[in-house]
Amino acid sequence: MHSLTPERRRVDPEPRTEAAADPVTHRRGRGDRRPGLPWILPALIVSVGLLYYCIGYTGFISTLDWDGASPEQTGVGAENFVHMAQDPVFWGAIWHTVVFFVLTFSIQVGLGMAFACLLHSRVHLRTFYKVLIFIPVVLATATTAPAFRQIFAPDGALNGVLSALGLGGLTQAWLANGTTALLIVIFVQVWQSTGVVFVLYYAAIGQIEPEIIEAARLDGAGDLRIIRSLVWPGVRGTTIAIAILSAIGSLKTFDIPYLITQGGPSYATEFLGTQIYRVSVALSQVGYGAALSIVLLVLAITTAIIINAGGRRGGRTDV
């Protein structure tokens, strides 16, 4: 992606006569000096305009008691937020998000690294494996959800496989139990996004010079030692990027619990996204839904800033 490095910009130090004579082009290396505002306006209007308008509107709604349709809106100040602090479903959703993030992130990183290292070795059918890992990335959750509901149903494929393996004692209604339902949501997320993590690690490992690894091997380092001491530190930036992606992704989680577990059983797989949807649409408590949205937004921005800052600080002590 960065084949054209910023260094190139400094390649042009010699003043060319025409350029030096022209006062407009005089400030070289800073780009074209002609006004650019009209060029960024479409993006600003469509994106910043629409999104900031919506955020502001959400902020306003969050202070209302409103069903979303009636002209009757009652201002209730911060009452929605007070209600949230006492709402066990909200705290449950936060807790599920944390568990979801910790598990999906660590499993994805482990699997992604394993696949990247394995496929950088001499193995057969490389493309075949790669395609299998990546197909879940391009499929919509809406497309795969019926399959997962079928797999984890009491008479579904998973129980069938378990019985066939003589593990009939383990069969159960996977989606009816709160813990296994949450684990299924996590499994589907890992299934869907390991492909991206793998591609990122695969590219990052490709940047590590093979000579270094060869030298370490000649010094007697084993495979695992090489991965831990050479590869893992080498892909640190990628790991931080993945951490940000999966943290934000965890906060945004909606499709998987909505389509596979409906947030249940008894709120065991409720996430902020599904709670906002349920509260605003099914229960018509749009004010409360908006208050939850504001909290979700603040959490998302704070998380991105914290991980970014933490990653940078850690990077400096590493060097």
Binding site: D32, A43, S47, R122, P146, I227, I276
Partner: protein
């Protein structure tokens, strides 16, 4: 990466890899198998014979094409402006865009719903196209700006000295140079719009306006929860993206992984 000088270690690696891939393949296999259970291929002919089905695909194609056009136009002009033109307070505008990067779409639910019903866009594809475009632009602008930053300024200066105005520079010089990033943007935006579920769920009410992600739900109603037909429908909705991906593997992997490259 791994030591592969001995045959034994090579076989072990191959076996480990295969075992690790099994959980990824299993749901796909179960899905296809489930869609063929009961009456076999007849499930597919039943689903395909439904007159409403093509409409879902057409709608999804319109949504994807609309979002791609809007995002691409906004992104490339903005990347050019941010990277190569002079704008007072440029970085402030840029940060305003970046702040929207982390925005979960569900946050927009209430205000979008209120606004969309007010302007009468409810149950039209615009209700999905515009918010989808707005949500993707911050990220694609970030991607494209990074790329355009790497294009040497002297190249653009040369074009200007040769008498090209800003529009011509953009059209004849910048766009051809940015083809790789445009391909990444198109893939990314295509997948995100084709696969989006929440916005169609919220704003598209009647089957003649709905997109492919709502097909499984539609069939649950249609077939009284006959799982084999629901799965057949799901397989059909997934086929276009899987075919697109296998034909354009490298573009997809690069485009979808671009997310983490800063």
């Amino acid at each position: 990466m791994f030591e592969t000088r001995r045959l034994r270690s090579r076989i072990v690696l191959q076996i480990v890899l295969t075992l690790l891939v099994v959980p990824f393949a299993f749901p796909l296999v179960a899905m296809v198998q489930g869609s063929l259970a009961g009456s076999g291929w007849a499930n597919y002919t039943t689903v395909l014979s439904l007159p409403q089905l093509p409409r879902f695909f057409v709608n999804s194609a319109i949504v994807a094409a609309g979002v791609i056009l809007i995002v691409l136009a906004c992104t490339m002009t903005a990347a050019f402006g941010f990277s190569k033109l002079s704008i007072r307070g440029k970085e402030i505008y840029f940060w305003m865009l970046l702040a929207a990067l982390t925005l979960p779409e569900v946050v927009l639910l209430a205000p979008l719903f209120a606004t969309i019903t007010q302007i009468g866009a409810y149950n039209t594809l615009w209700a999905v196209i515009l918010p989808l475009a707005a949500l993707q632009i911050p990220f694609t602008v970030l991607l494209a700006r990074n790329f355009v930053d790497g294009i040497p300024d002297p190249l653009l200066e040369a074009a200007r000295i040769d008498g090209a105005n800003t529009v011509r520079t953009f059209w004849h010089l910048l766009l051809p140079l940015t083809r790789p990033i445009m391909a990444a943007v198109v893939v990314l935006v295509f997948i995100n719009s084709w696969n989006n579920f929440l916005l169609p769920l919220l704003f598209l009410q009647t089957p003649d306006q709905q997109t492919v992600t709502l097909v499984p739900q539609f069939f649950v109603g249609q077939y009284n929860n006959d799982q084999t037909k629901v799965l057949a429908a799901a397989v059909l909705t997934g086929l276009p993206v899987v075919i697109a991906y296998t034909c354009l593997q490298r573009f997809f992997e690069r485009g979808l992984a671009a997310g983490a490259l800063k």
